[in-house]
Each structure stands twice: as structure tokens, then as C-alpha cells.
């Protein structure tokens, strides 16, 4: 389950969608949040944009791959549009029988999302300029 959202991410709603069963002894959630600094510059806000059709396909592939690699159920949602400091930019939730596979799968998913999904961040700095990030 992978989604893109122009609305604030409601983590409780996503945990409910993930629906960890009574066989799930572990639920690991990761929130990537908008930080107020980047490489020494004070950040004021962010924009995210995506190639939406491709991002949805690739994000779904990553979640499905995670569920094949690890014995877990997983979900991920990424924000698009304008975000304020402290807002959740990306949420990953993983439910599994045990914590080891849940932690490992959660870490694997966020790393793959960052590497493979066509989403871009523009940072707005306190000094006024705005720069697309292309690491």
C-alpha cells in the first residue's frame, strides 16, 4: 500500500489502514519530518513534487518487494505540495510478528523510497532563495 497525499498525513489513520493483526507482535513506524536546517542554512518551508503516475507505481513496487523480502505487512505515504516545518513528509508503517523484521523492513523501505521514487524537494531558505534538491 503506497500513496501520495496533498493533505497532512494522519499517522493513526494509516496504522488503522495497515491493520496489524493479533499475530503482529511489532509495529514500527518511521516519520520523515520537515527540518529547519540543511547544510548550515536555515530552512523556512518545503515543496515536494512528483511524477505522480510513476511514483505511485514505483512506491507500490517497493512496498510489495518489502513484503516479499521480510515477513511483514507494510504501508507508505509521501506528501506532495507545500509543507511547513515539523510536518510529516513521509510515513512508513510495518507490522510483523517480531521486531527484528519490522525494524529491518521499515529501514529498507525508507531507503528504497528515497533512492527510487521520482519525488523532488525544493527548500525555501530564511534568506529568501528556493533551491531544488538533487543529491
Amino acid at each position: 500500500m503506497f500513496a501520495l497525499s496533498y493533505e497532512a498525513i494522519d499517522a493513526n489513520k494509516w496504522v488503522a489502514k495497515l491493520g496489524p493483526g493479533l499475530d503482529s507482535g511489532a509495529l514500527v513506524c518511521f516519520e520523515g519530518r520537515v527540518r529547519n536546517h540543511h547544510q548550515g542554512k536555515a530552512v523556512r518551508s518545503l515543496d515536494y513534487e512528483a511524477h505522480e503516475a510513476l511514483a505511485l507505481d514505483e512506491g507500490e513496487r517497493i512496498v510489495k518487494e518489502a513484503q516479499q523480502r521480510f515477513p511483514v505487512q507494510a504501508a507508505c505515504v509521501h506528501r506532495l505540495g507545500s509543507l511547513e516545518l515539523g510536518e510529516v513528509a513521509v510515513w512508513v508503517g510495518v507490522a510483523g510478528s517480531h521486531r527484528d523484521e519490522a525494524f529491518s523492513a521499515c529501514r529498507w523501505i525508507i531507503d528504497e523510497i528515497k533512492a527510487r521514487v521520482p519525488i523532488w524537494k525544493r527548500e525555501y531558505y530564511e534568506q529568501g532563495e528556493a533551491v531544488w534538491q538533487h543529491p
Binding site: G32, Y48, E49, A50, H51, A53, L54, A55, D57, E58, H78, A89, V90, I110, I113, K114, A115, R116, V117, P118, I119, W120, K121, R122, W132, Q133, H134, P135
Partner: protein, 93 residues
């Protein structure tokens, strides 16, 4: 028929829709444009033309390309009506 005429008979005009994102969109000043091209033309050849026109700082080796909504190889030959998206390095998460 001269060599030149034979060449013209073999080439075919196609029209492709180009999509830009992030810094490429900012530098191009548009998020999409359509372009008439002569076949055969590969994605990497199209990008080289557009890079020269818009002054993109990225070489093709820094980018990914998607054709009709799916990741594609740079050597793919373009067809009439294709949507070609140039994807600068990702920064989600």
C-alpha cells in the same frame, strides 16, 4: 533519386510530448512542451538537443528517463505520440 532524396524519404517526422520536473522545469521555464523530431531518434539524443537549448546542467548519466509513464533505457527509439519525462536526481523522503 539522389542519396539526399532517399534519406528524406526514409526519415519520418514524429511529435513527442516532453515533461520536465524540479530543476529541469525551472530551467526550461515550462513543465511540458511538444517537439517535432525526425525519426529515428533515441531518448538520449532528444535530451542532448534539449540540454543545448535550455542549458541544463545535468548530463544524461545523472538523469533517469521515463517513456509513457514507465522507466526506460536511454537508447530507446522514440515513437510518434510518446510522452518522454526527464527525471533529475530524486530527493523525496
Amino acid at each position: 533519386m539522389t542519396t539526399k532524396h532517399r534519406h528524406q524519404a526514409r526519415t519520418r517526422k514524429i511529435k513527442v510530448q516532453i515533461r520536465y520536473f524540479a530543476e529541469l522545469k525551472q530551467q526550461a521555464g515550462v513543465d511540458q512542451e511538444s517537439q517535432q523530431c525526425e525519426q529515428p531518434l533515441t531518448a538520449v539524443e532528444l535530451y542532448a538537443q534539449l540540454r543545448e537549448r535550455h542549458g541544463f546542467r545535468f548530463g544524461a548519466q545523472m538523469l533517469r528517463v521515463a517513456i509513457n509513464g514507465a522507466f526506460a533505457e536511454w537508447g530507446t527509439t522514440l515513437n510518434d505520440g510518446d510522452e518522454v519525462a526527464f527525471l533529475p536526481p530524486f530527493s523525496g523522503g
